[in-house]
Symmetry: C2
Subunit: 343 residues, 2 copies
């Protein structure tokens, strides 16, 4: 089959790889109908790789049709249309039962340790019963792009707002106008936030952010952006950081109100950062983390089916597998918000 | 009057300073009956000072008798026995009403900006109505040392457990066997924690910790200590860090369970530290901060009056003002847990 492989910084290629097959009795094989490029895929896309390392698969968002299942798979069968969570998980361990599927004792990430990526014609899905969610639409439904948002970006935005502890009537600041930031806006609105300030400087994205529920947009960054938010709010009790660079975290520290919460859903591109007195003296809570997407998929499915959240609107370009390299380039240059892949 | 002044690293002296007096209509002047040395006083005691800076007062825990009040003080009068919170605060601003008295819009810290320290014969108390709590005992009550714990260490331990979100039946790990750590143990017990692991290596302190409610003691530190706690708990859902050094924070990262909470009440002696992936990948929440002591004083007063928490037990030495330098040395060498001062 064809799959996308990452060869090095800025170098993704469509190549022929062996077809995936059931290896464990808990596996399924899914033929990919839709996949996409995530903002977080741009991080490895930029990273220098060990030159001796072989090219690696990539992608963690996909939906498709079950082609084969192992002997222990109970919930799915050949022909089911399914969407996968952004990490695989058994759904039964203590962490999964606690809603922390990303810490599953039998779980893991796509595209590493012998598991393929979602940017491919097909994927072996470990722990299929825990990882997949059946979709109640046919394979040719126009809702499919919106449903693909359940694989990562909508639940991740939701995780950000949930962990922040957003309450009805409150003020929330979302840092970052990528897809995850926009879904954080949608999630904050879902939780009843009254004022939602979106910090982002790409007008087409922040315009879409207003459709998702943002009431204010602040285009400035750094000290200017902080001053602007502080004019609007006197400090924001809930801040969702949806970027991942240390500058965005520092911006969150600048806009958060004393006693407030910063919830991070952007993948941190740093290990060390301000964590001592800057949080302590002001009783700021730092929370969030890699979203246990699987915990929220059924909860958010009705929003997508009803159109309450126009999830598919984040896709502004579509490519085949042969066009994925162009898709990465377009997202990297911020010419495209999120690129849909029809393998 | 006599007061303690900090001249430089390891150098505290009793000196003659001007008597405090009412300067603002919201001030009171309190004659100090009992004061003490805090573990956090050891941080400035160690710190290199600007050699041109004048000696500075020190101390933020005291109880005593109101000697004078300004025209706007409504809740107190001459002769009242009172205990002060570890920061002063108006009690009426939006932050105070939200229980975050340490961020009070008219508040501040003792021993800076023209306000004296608690290690003195008397103190000018700004915002007296917001800062002081009346004690329902006479000046010669044997409960006075226990009541002095309300000025900082018991409410600070309580803040740690409250922010951690300790629930009934849960497992809590407390890092640090200083007074604040021991009161964090007491607070966790008050909240119904079933298993309370105290990490500390001073046997007399951890023995007292068992009296306060610890069910297990781990004397090892670093990787060994982490391994020991993980043997006992498979990761602790609630961790209270009551030391303030970055090594203690790293220890907290090591013992906390994925999805768990680290609540810091030790004053961080660092700005930068591990804050990116180490928290994010495991969905660990980092919370706590400088305790809004004033928010909890009335709540915890009955525990002290009834003896349910033997708060005064943390004091294992008593000095006059002339002996304070010896008291600092004893605490610095860990020969004393907490030194009481009778000016």
């Amino acid at each position: 089959m064809k799959a996308i492989l990452l060869h090095g910084p800025g170098d993704v290629r469509m190549e022929e790889v062996p077809d995936p097959r059931v290896e464990q009795p808990t596996d399924a094989v899914v033929r990919v109908v839709l996949s996409c490029v995530c903002g977080s895929d741009l991080h490895p896309y930029h990273r220098r790789m060990n030159p001796d390392a072989p090219p690696r698969p990539i992608g963690h968002e996909f939906l498709g049709v079950v082609e084969d299942v192992g002997a222990d798979v109970r919930r799915f069968r050949r022909g089911d249309l399914v969407v996968a969570a952004d990490t695989y998980c058994d759904g039964t361990c203590d962490f999964c039962r606690a809603g922390l599927h990303t810490s599953c004792r039998n779980g893991g990430y796509w595209a590493v340790k012998g598991v393929g990526g979602g940017q491919a014609e097909a994927v072996r899905v470990p722990q299929a019963d825990g990882t997949l969610v059946k979709l109640p639409v046919p394979e040719d439904s126009p809702l499919l792009p919106s449903l693909l948002a359940l694989a990562d970006v909508y639940p991740t935005g939701y995780h950000g707002a949930l962990r922040a502890g957003v309450t009805a009537g409150s003020t929330v600041t979302v840092i970052g106008d990528g897809a995850v930031g926009l879904f954080a806006v949608a999630a904050a609105k879902r939780m009843g936030a009254e004022r939602i300030i979106l910090m982002g400087r790409h007008k087409s994205r922040t315009d879409l952010g207003r459709e998702f529920g943002a009431t204010d947009v602040v285009a400035e960054r750094g000290p200017e952006g902080i001053a602007k938010v502080r004019e609007l709010t006197d400090g924001s009790p809930y801040v969702i950081e949806a970027v991942g660079f240390v500058e965005a975290y520092e911006q969150a520290l600048g806009v958060v109100r004393d006693g407030g919460t910063i919830s991070r859903i952007g993948v941190p591109q740093y290990v060390d950062g301000p964590v001592g007195m800057p949080l302590y003296r002001r009783n700021v809570t730092l929370t969030g983390g890699v979203a246990p997407v699987r915990a929220y998929m059924e909860l958010l499915l009705p929003d997508v089916l009803s159109g309450a959240v126009p999830a598919g609107r984040v896709f502004d370009a579509t490519v085949g597998l042969a066009g994925v390299a162009d898709g990465y380039r377009a997202m990297d240059r911020r010419e495209s918000l999120k690129v849909l892949i029809r393998p």
